[in-house]
Structures are given as structure tokens and as C-alpha cells.
Symmetry: C2
Subunit: 362 residues, 2 copies
DNA sequence: GCCGAATGCGGAAGGGTTTCCATCATTTTC
DNA sequence: GAAAATGATGGAAACCCTTCCGCATTCGGC
């Protein structure tokens, strides 16, 4: 873009501040430069059919007058907003930051603006969607980590606005997500392959799609390794905040396992790192050490995980953000593009909590 | 162009979806309702001088036609953007989320839009500022946790746009910050009052204002307790990422202390929680337990701190975000308002790392 | 030296609102 | 009952840009 050209001019700053930011329009430039407004616009938008001399003169005048195009007049006339909005639940914390990072990276590379709608409570989604859907407001919307309410879904389909889903899936929109089942499979398999015969799972609320998928993967891993699945070995904490993906739920679930006494598994796949934190607290309160007495594998690879030496499944969050924008922009350019669903595979990050490292050292 | 209105009959939702969201303008409503466009605008903006019947009719028609005002046409005509932009460094992680949460909360309460510019590298600031400064684009800008480059600063003063600083201070703009010195004082004093005669400090790079202020507070606490300050007892890690507020720097600094042998202090004030994480790793690698062998107090109260049982100074981040917006909006309403600087006092959160609590008390 | 094509350019017409002013209708006041 | 005040309304103008149409000029080819 060319705005930056006008941003930083050479003239004496003291002088300029006296001039006082009077709103300069293309008409002013046109008059001053002795040309028509059409020409001004053409110069500023790098339209080819302008002679080099005219162009030079116009640019000179524009700079001298310290011209700044009016964003909203441009957007109105161009019939596009150069804006993308993102509806993101704040409570996903680290996940959300990382994805947002990717989103922002790509968005600013493309010269778009990002309008952020941070969701604290599910009921806010509808209001935000309504705002984002205001006519002309944005060129596209990204929804993160949430089941879009049916009501909103219907409205989204009505408008022809490009929509993208991240960390969520719906047949009607492009989506970028993580292979939850596959990740859970890998995590569980890792524990099994370390020799554990009995692997428990701490899951989140089954209303959450990721929770369900992770359970699937866990189950499949057991089966492939010839171990029969048992309801007894899957526990869910009572705390339902964030669909059970919270620290206390992990604590509660592990406490239940501890109560099993000698029948308690010595290895666990925990459906999120944050739950694993709680689980570890519960363990240490009961005198179990990790990984010496109990092995754990989490899911997400949030920042804490590294500090806690937690073995976990990493989601390529930054990349997901980048791809989400790329996909959205592609759809803006070509609305009839076939709907695309991309799933990223999480990768196993081996740290200490699973016991694999200590084992190798011996 | 407008014929579709005539085909658009009442009810029948199936029909509606076929009609396809044709852009409805106030002219369409005016024609349909048999009134002038001025009246439409008045109704939609709750202007008083419209009869109840007219109002009712207009609203009915607007609803029937599924009218949506065009955001940018409004903003152009109203001469205001109903948008605030925030320039935030992403790397502050948890701090940034929490503040952003407060910002978002207030902003959406006020019906504004938030345009986010996430900074990864300092050199991006200038570009973002230029974008935010585009004529008419935003009604105000908030800068977070950064020293605004002089070049940009000059530019900001030139435009009369309301500007706010959060977690940073400059005489020319409103600011919301944290009393770093005071917090450092409290943290250090806490350790001293627990009976420690020798308290070390792990600091960040002195180019950072917060680092400097925290050092001040540490120093003052020592003095007030009749203990002389010693350069030896302040260490800074070599890793300069994020001005030294990073995990590795904390690790490195603590390693230096460990090398002191028996002269090593048994209590430390660490200038950020994230550095404290590194410090703890260094300690545990060298056989020191926290808090039995060494007491620590951090600063920030990031999420990790709770999980690590780290005693620390909490910054009221959410509130800071809320206040930042309130202040900015106040300045928009009254640009001649006196410049206001608000500092929040951090509060001491006592957990286990300082040794003040026994393990069982939690 | 002529003709058609190519090129540069001016400015009207849009884009969709808000706002202000004049107009007309209705009350109020004396 | 006339004059004045009040209130609702229509619509032009303004907000500031992009785009398109058509005109004028230049250029290349023969």
C-alpha cells in the first residue's frame, strides 16, 4: 500500500503543527495541482493511465498538503471494507493468543484490519455476529473454538459473507481444525508403548466435540493394542466451566482415580494440559510423584506445559491462524470455491511427565 | 435495482431466502413507507421529532425489508468511526490477554469496535500507528506496554486524536500504569519481614522502565529495613528477549547466584513471574527446594504463578483495561480535559514460594 | 497528410448516510 | 380570529472517495 508514503514527510515539524490538521481532500489536491479529481484518485491508487509528470506533481502536492485519504469514504466507494473480524473466546487463553498471532500476522501482511470480538460468555456470540454482519462492515468473519448457535448460523448463510471456522467444524463453512482423535490416539499409544498395561483417561464434558473425539482416539488406541476399554477408567470432573477443560475438573477427576486405591492406573491421558495441572496437584497431594509413580500425557501444549515438563500433544496454533486467513481471503476472491476442511495433526511433544525420558536414561 | 422489493411479500421465509439479500437503502424504505429519507434517518437514530405513527410505520417497513444500515456510510456522514484501536505487544502473553479482556468488555458495552494491532517486533509499531492514524479511521488509540518511538510520538501529537497509554507513561498522554516501585518495595519488604537478612534480586534489562522502577523499590525496601544495598545481589540474565523478562534470563541469573556458594541469599525478589519460573528450574537443578531452602517472590501474577504456588505481586490487569477505555472515551468527549495519569498499586498475593505459608494450608 | 487507435484526463454519477433549512400543518396566545 | 409559536416533514447538501463515460490529444501506419 502507499499510505506510508504520506505518513512521513520531511517538512519542518513546527511549521506543520501550526498549519493544523485541516481535512485535506482530493479536491484540494486537484485545485492545487491544477488537475481533475479523477487524476488524483488514479495517482493515489497506482492506476496506470497517468503521465509520469502528472503523477509526480500530484504526489508532490499530496505530500505537501499532508493528505490522508479518508478510510471510510474509500471503503464506501470501493464497496469493500478491507476488514476481517474474528469472534474468539477469551477463555481459551494460550490457544487463543497463539492462533490470534497467526491471524494477525497474515492479516497485517495483507493490509487488512482486524476487528476483534472477544467472547466471555456464549450468549455474547449472537450480538457480536449481528455487529459483524452489519452491511458492509467486514469482508469476512472467523469464528474460533465454538459451536456457532443455530440462529446465528442461519443468518450467516443468508448473507453471502465469507465465513471461516477455526478449531470447529460445520459442513457449510470452511474450517481449520485439529485431528483430535488422532492426537488422542498418539498420546495414548505413547503411554501404551512405554509398557503401561492400564491407561486411564481424564476427559472433559461430552457436550464438547473435541472431548468426544479425544475419547474416540483414546479408545481406538486401547483397542489396537489389544486392551479392552473400560468405563471405569474414564473420569470427568464435576466442574463444567469451559466444558470441563479447566484445572479443577482435572483435579476432581484425578481424585476419583486416587480413590480406586491399588486398582488405579499408573498412566493417564488427560484431555487438556490445564486439566493435567489439576491432576498433578491431586497426585502430589496424595503422595504420587510424576513421572516416577504416575505417567501423564496432556493435550494442547499451552505455555504452562513447557514449564511443568508435561508431555503433550502440540497443536500448530500459529499456522492454523495463518491458514484461516489465507483460506478466508481465497474465498473472498472466489465465493464459489468449493468448501474446504483442513485438519492439522497434533505432534507429540515428549517431556518428563510421561516417564519416557527417565526411562531412556537408565 | 429495486423491483425486488415489490416481489418481497410478507411472511413466507422460504421465499425470502430466494430473493437474495439485495442492498436495501433508506431510499427504499422512504418510498415504501411514503415518507422522506430525513424521516427515516430520524426514526432510526431515535431523534425525537417524529410522530409515533410515522415511527411505527417506518420501523415496520424497515423490518420487513430487512434493512441494515451501511456502517461506513454512517461513519462517513457522522464524522466518527465508533472504533478504537489497540496496539498491543503479543509477547506479554497473559498480561495482554487480561488487559485486553477489560478493554473488550468496556468497548463492547459502549458499542464501539476494537481494531487490534498485535506487535511482535518493535519495528511494527510505526506501521501500525500509521494505519491507525489514517484519517477518520479510529476515534482513539491505546498503546500498551511499550515505549512509543519518538517518531510516532511526534506524529501522534500532531493529529489531535485521543491517545492513551497502558502500562507505560509519557507526560503528553493519559496513562494507566502500575506502581512498579511500590510493588517491588512490598515484595522485598515481605521477604525481609519474614526474617531474611539478605535478599537478592533478579532483574530484567535496565532499558526497560518497569525494570528500573522495580529495582528502585527493591533498593528502598532494603534501606528502610536498615540493610545496605549491594550490586552483587542484583543479577540480570543475558537473554535480552522481551527486555529480559523471559524464562531463560531468570534461569541464567539464578545460576549466577548459585555459583556464589554459601554467600548466596536465601530469599529473592524476581522482577517477573516468568523469570521466577526459570529461577526455580535453576534452583531445583542445583538441589534447592522452594520454599524450604530458598524463598521467592515474583511480580505480575500471571496464570502460571497460581499453578506454581508462586507468591507474587498482582497487577489489576482487567481493571486497567476497563479504565483505559473509560479514560479514552472521556477524552474523546472532552479533548481539552487535563491529562491524567493513574497508577494502580499491585497487591501481594501470598502463596507458598515465599515460605510464609505451610504446605498444608494451601 | 490522413485515419483509426491509443492514451491521458475531467468530472458527473455513484456509494449510503446525516444534518440542516425551508415548508407546511397544527396549536397556542392574546 | 389573527398572529405567533411549535412541531413534523421533505429533500438538498455534505461527508470523501472511486469509477466510468466521453472528449481531446497524440501516435503509428500507410
Amino acid at each position: 500500500m502507499t499510505e506510508s508514503n504520506f505518513f512521513c514527510s520531511f517538512g519542518s515539524p513546527s511549521k506543520k503543527s501550526e498549519v493544523m490538521a485541516k481535512k485535506v481532500t482530493i479536491y484540494d489536491i486537484a485545485r492545487e495541482a491544477g488537475v481533475g479529481i479523477g487524476t488524483i484518485s488514479r495517482v493515489l491508487n497506482d492506476h496506470p493511465s497517468v503521465t509520469p509528470e502528472t503523477r509526480k506533481k500530484v504526489i508532490e502536492v499530496a505530500k505537501r498538503l499532508n493528505y490522508q485519504p479518508h478510510t471510510y469514504a474509500q471503503r464506501l466507494a470501493r464497496r469493500q471494507s478491507e476488514t476481517i473480524s474474528a469472534v474468539i473466546p477469551f477463555f481459551t487463553n494460550y490457544f487463543f493468543i497463539e492462533v490470534l498471532r497467526g491471524v494477525q500476522d497474515k492479516i497485517s501482511e495483507l493490509g487488512y484490519d482486524l476487528v476483534l470480538y472477544g467472547v466471555e460468555r456464549p450468549d455474547q456470540v449472537e450480538g457480536y455476529a449481528a455487529r459483524a454482519l452489519q452491511r458492509g462492515k467486514v469482508d469476512g468473519i472467523l469464528f474460533f473454538s465454538m459451536k456457532v448457535p443455530d440462529k446465528v448460523l442461519a443468518r450467516l448463510k443468508e448473507t453471502n459473507l465469507p465465513i471461516g471456522l477455526v478449531d470447529a467444524v460445520s459442513p457449510e463453512f470452511d474450517s481449520i481444525s485439529v485431528a483430535n482423535a488422532e492426537g488422542a490416539y498418539a498420546a495414548t499409544a505413547h503411554l501404551l508403548e512405554l509398557g503401561h498395561q492400564s491407561v486411564g483417561m481424564i476427559n472433559a464434558q461430552p457436550v464438547s466435540a473435541p472431548a468426544l473425539e479425544r475419547l474416540q482416539g483414546y479408545r481406538r488406541a486401547l483397542e489396537r493394542h489389544g486392551i479392552s476399554f473400560s468405563d471405569e477408567l474414564v473420569r470427568i470432573g464435576r466442574n463444567t466451566k469451559q466444558d470441563g477443560f479447566n484445572r479443577d475438573a482435572g483435579y476432581e477427576a484425578m481424585m476419583e482415580f486416587v480413590k480406586m486405591g491399588s486398582g488405579m492406573p499408573k498412566a493417564f491421558f488427560v484431555s487438556s494440559d490445564i486439566q493435567a495441572m489439576g491432576a498433578i496437584s491431586a497426585l502430589s497431594e496424595n503422595g504420587f510423584r510424576v513421572p516416577e509413580d504416575v505417567a501423564l500425557v496432556g493435550f494442547d501444549d499451552i505455555e504452562l506445559a513447557r514449564h511443568m515438563r508435561l508431555t503433550t500433544m502440540r497443536q500448530p496454533m500459529f499456522q492454523m491462524g495463518v491458514l484461516a486467513i489465507e483460506r478466508l481471503v481465497a474465498r473472498m476472491a472466489n465465493p464459489d470455491m468449493e468448501i474446504l476442511h483442513t485438519t492439522f495433526s497434533p505432534t507429540l511433544i515428549v517431556r518428563e511427565s510421561c516417564g519416557a525420558l527417565t526411562r531412556n536414561q537408565n
